[in-house]
Symmetry: C2
Subunit: 77 residues, 2 copies
């Protein structure tokens, strides 16, 4: 099975990378960009394990729950 | 409007970060992880502009089309 984990910063956590992207867009002339937040996406292909395994992988390695939230989607094979 | 841009490496492009995550998962005892690919996600809040603006932002700043693909979703406000 294939899963996509999307990890984003929690509300209220500063995002310097997002701020840098916003600044770069302003320099390129894009007006009206109010907010930019950058996160990561991890695509996992598992031959063993299920959604519960993916939650465990998130908790043990991929996500820092103090500052990050995550979502899991199942992808088409 | 809020948009989510998901940037992933094209098929065939080596992903050292994904390989490192796969190795770390093996060391943690997760068996059956066949493949890991890491990408990024950028959430944009625009007060001006539309989907076409987001495509332009991708092409001009966020995405390197030689090695990356991207998808745009519209998010709930």
């Amino acid at each position: 099975m294939r899963y996509r984990v999307t990890v984003t910063l929690r509300e209220g956590i500063l995002d310097p990378q997002g701020k840098a992207v916003k600044g770069a867009l302003e320099n390129l002339g894009f007006e009206g960009v109010d907010r930019v937040r950058v996160g990561k996406v991890i695509d996992l292909t598992l031959s063993e394990g299920d959604l519960e395994t993916v939650h465990e992988i998130c908790k043990k390695l991929l996500v820092n729950p103090v500052i990050e939230d995550y979502q899991i989607e199942t992808l088409e094979e």
